[in-house]
Amino acid sequence: MGLDFSVLPPYAELLGVGLWWTIVLTVSAGIVSFVMGILFAVTVLYAPAVIAYPVRFFIWLFMGTPLLLQLFLIYYGLVQIGIDLPALVAGIVGLGLHFAVYNGDIIRAGIAAVDPGQTEGARSIGFGRWQALRYVVIPQAVRNTTPAVGNMMIALLKESSLVSVIGIAELVHASQLAISETYRPFEFYIAAAALYYLANLILEAGLNMIEKRVEASR
């Protein structure tokens, strides 16, 4: 059975919709992972031990286990304790939490790297502890960690392919659907790979623009 790429065009729309959901997943999980990452970083650094320790345990657990396993736990596990999440929500939560753990680690290092004089200065002109953190330290930490967090977003785009296993109709799942009708896995996986590669290039270009902006704003 030779290769025949003319099987692709009739499925262009299906793949397009799949790509659209991949983008939706990446953007939503990206936002979740960024916001939760900041929360994790602040909790680990400043929260009282009763809160900080469980969070650190969670971070340790999520860093040491595969994303795929975490997705199974969230999708099948929460049902057991009465939380029945739709697959899409489970996918966004799973991807978001997984990458929040890594972003949190990056941002925590970023906060630690901000000169203590910044906090002292803010405090001495009358900022409260939280105000100093919120308006002085965190903005600088986020700025310094933009390239590293950007790399996580690029990883997130690719790893979002894993949620196909819990039945979310993103790009991999769409390709599988087309393959089940045509029996042409090679052509469709090549097409999906090309779309991911393209999306990756666009994301990288976007992140470069953001990085330049952030550099310029210093």
């Binding site: 286990t65 795929l68 396993l69 790979a193 990756n200």
Partner: protein, 215 residues
Amino acid sequence: MDIELMQRVLPFFMEAAVVTIEVSALSLVLGLAMAALAASAKLSGFVPIRWLGNAYVSLFRGTPCLIQLFLLYFGGPQVGVNLEPFAAGVIGLGLNIGAYMAESVRGAVLAVDRGQAEAARTIGFSRSQTMRYVLLPQAARLMIRPLGVNTIALIKGSALISAISVIEITYTAQRFISSTYKPFEIFAIAAVLYMVIIYVVARAVDFLDRRFAIA
């Protein structure tokens, strides 16, 4: 916690853990070989070779590992490549991690002080002699840690081959989660197994890093 259930499924998980370790070890060997090839290609003075190295790293880092595995396992037969799930898993994971490891190797070589290469060339070393006797020995030390990070990512990434039905830890976990409806107990076993494997590898990397550190 259903301890009795955990005891009952444990033997299956131990067998699965052996598969995870085997796959990871074999793909590590393939990955390191690919990384050495690709990094030297990317650092080569010969443009077509450099282009080939760049293409490999860019394509394998720019697309999801899952797609690469599916293309190899499901798409392979269409172009005459028939692989068992285990072999497809090892080759797919190895080719994927090789592209990331190539960047770790290249980064380490580029991190060696420029003056070292310049001095070697000045006293009459050829390009390849400079690489072999001056740059690589110094870079080897610098690549231990990044390659260790890649290896740990590889072990966690090996969960993906459950999707091409290799019976490793994650495949076993998925099977027992859907048959026992005890996801937390099953997750706990799988998590402990991954953590132990990763801990051992992390300690080994620490040891190597200290062993080859400049005193």
